[in-house]
Amino acid sequence: MKQASELYETYLRTDMLPTILCSGCGAGVVLNATIRAIDSLKMDLDNMVFVSGIGCSSRLGAYINADSLHTTHGRAIAYATGVKAANPDLEVVVFTGDGDCVGIGGNHFIHGIRRNIGINVIAINNYNYGMTGGQTSPSTPQGSVTTTTQYGAFEHPFDIAQLAKTAGAAYVARWTTSHPLQLQKAIRKGFSNKGFCFIEVLSPCPTSYWGRNKVRNPEEMYQWYKDHTIPIGRAEEYPEKIPIGELVNVEKREWTEQWASLVRKVSP
């Protein structure tokens, strides 16, 4: 495995550092896993575009030394659809948060999947709106205290990976920041799938979420994600745990491929 410093030189936009992330934020683990996956796939950064919305998670695109479109809250997948559809040769990666992806951006999310536009979406699910100080999000677990559910959240949360699967994504996986190697491998596999790739990462937000929910030190947080998840194959035995692993990996005609064949068919 390459040294972190070596990877940083190659892949990070160093003049944008330090990051805005709080210490202990899981988003850094996701950035690291993404870079390692790109490195091991030997992808050309100059042919990649990182698109993101608004939120802490959506800041990751800024730190990779490639073209990057930091857009409006919730709409990253729609912008990314435009990038990919206009130039299918580009490898497009979207960084998004749970609020960005399935709150304000939920409609773009399911329709991007339905179209099977060949982009790779990495959603950092930290159970809350971190950037705005810890409000409830569509994925906040029931009972959690957030700044807008002061007596505990009671709404039914989305299972985001399941939503992606149901909408028809070509690749879906869920891991946590306590499983960095498996995450990296999933990113590698997902990026290799030509269709819509969706990777959900359960990730700690110590500043805005976990403090209010009484998990205060990094080891405890790390362990929480280990203890509350279960490999997907054994999920039925442990219905109270969150299934992790690869949910979908299928071949499916991708949007830009279909558009190209339509153009070949109709253009004289």
Partner: protein, 370 residues
């Protein structure tokens, strides 16, 4: 097949919506994203027919926010890109129009106006989005808004919208109305049109416009709607950075007024009264001017093709020359207020306002002149 071949005959009898599509394709538009809405739907339909023939891309998005977002994404690959909508969709697009302003993304938005507020009158013309086109997104900014008064002009001004948008790296809005959008008129399609592309180097760029680095060329562009420095890096707490950025974004539009502003004039030489209008309202405006001339009156007519940026100097000078400015609009008075402000009491400014899809009657205009 090239765009000109795909468009077909030189002389055609078509709707304004279709003429917009022709103009866009001639101007080099190769990406369209849209969502159906009366009275702009024909634009999306025609784009979906023609773009694949010439190797372009057309996509129906899940809503208008998605449409304008996809357009901005496509524009960053270097493509000339457009969307088209009407009032309700134009409202949804406003946040991203501001994003396009802040990120200096060339793109064209066609708004075929219908009666509002809300769902209003889907099949009736209006000029009710004039202020929204200028001020619809949050923050201080300037952009370019053009208004055609015929089907031929719908094509020509769409071409111009693309060229101005490219030159100044600013969203350009073609603000038309249901009447022009759905009206059929004879148009003549040119074989070639003047083409502008976004500046690739400082030398090519107009004053205050930075060069554009499209994605995929190793330029490692960082594009953000956050307040940023010249290199694109966010800098959100320094008032000087924000001040400089916003003033430059406004200046690149307003200080190039001579290039951007266009108006057609008739009978202006010795006019003491002038009828100012735009879009479909310009037609009764010009008719009233002609009727007044026949009655021996000195009534000129100005048809604005550029609504925004607003040319204060032009109207200040006009108010020195004439006694009376009559503004004809299909709204409760929108451009009227800016014209009155520019006239600064040097001429009387009167509004002839119609609503509900009714185009002003030339005799009603003559009545206020009398």
């Amino acid at each position: 097949m090239n765009a000109r071949e795909a468009i077909g005959d030189t002389v055609q009898f078509v709707q304004g919506d279709k003429a917009c599509v022709y103009g866009a394709l001639l101007a080099g538009c190769r990406f369209f994203a849209g969502y159906p809405i009366t009275p702009a739907t024909e634009i999306a339909e025609e784009m979906s027919r023609l773009l694949p023939l010439i190797g372009g891309t057309s996509i129906q998005m899940e809503d208008e926010i998605g449409s304008i977002s996809a357009v901005v994404g496509a524009a960053w690959t270097g493509a000339k890109a457009m969307t088209a909508t009407s009032g309700p969709g134009f409202s949804l697009m406003q946040e991203t129009i501001g994003y396009a302003v802040m990120t200096e993304t060339p793109c064209v938005i066609v708004d075929v106006q219908r009666g509002g507020p809300s769902t209003g009158q889907p099949t009736r013309a209006s000029q009710g989005d004039v202020m929204q086109a200028r001020y619809g997104s949050h923050g201080d900014y300037e952009l370019i808004v053009l208004s055609p008064s015929s089907v031929q002009e719908a094509m020509e001004l769409t071409i111009r919208a693309f060229n101005l948008s490219e030159t100044y790296r600013v969203p350009a809005i073609l603000l038309t109305e249901e009447s022009i959008g759905h009206m059929r008129e004879k148009i003549t399609i040119p074989d070639t049109v003047p083409l502008q592309s976004r500046p690739a180097t400082e030398d090519e760029a107009a004053p205050h416009v930075p060069p554009f680095s499209p994605f995929g060329r190793g330029k490692k562009a960082f594009v953000t709607g956050l307040t940023h420095q010249d290199n694109g890096h966010p800098s959100t707490d320094d008032h000087e950075v924000h001040d400089r950025l916003v003033r430059r974004l406004c200046a690149k539009v307003c200080e190039n007024m001579d290039d951007i502003f266009q108006a057609d004039t008739v009978r202006m030489d010795d006019a003491d009264t002038v009828i100012v209008s735009y879009g479909i309202s310009a037609r009764p405006g010009r008719a009233a001017s002609e009727m007044a001339a026949q009655a021996g009156r000195k009534v000129g007519a100005i048809t604005l093709k550029t609504l925004w940026p607003f040319n204060y100097a032009y109207f200040a000078e006009l108010a020195q020359r004439v006694d009376h400015i009559v503004v004809v609009e299909m709204n409760c008075g929108m451009l009227y207020h800016s014209i009155r402000e520019a006239a600064a009491g040097n001429a009387n400014v009167t509004l002839v306002s119609t609503l509900g899809g009714k185009v002003a009657d030339p005799t009603a205009i003559l009545e206020v002149i009398r």
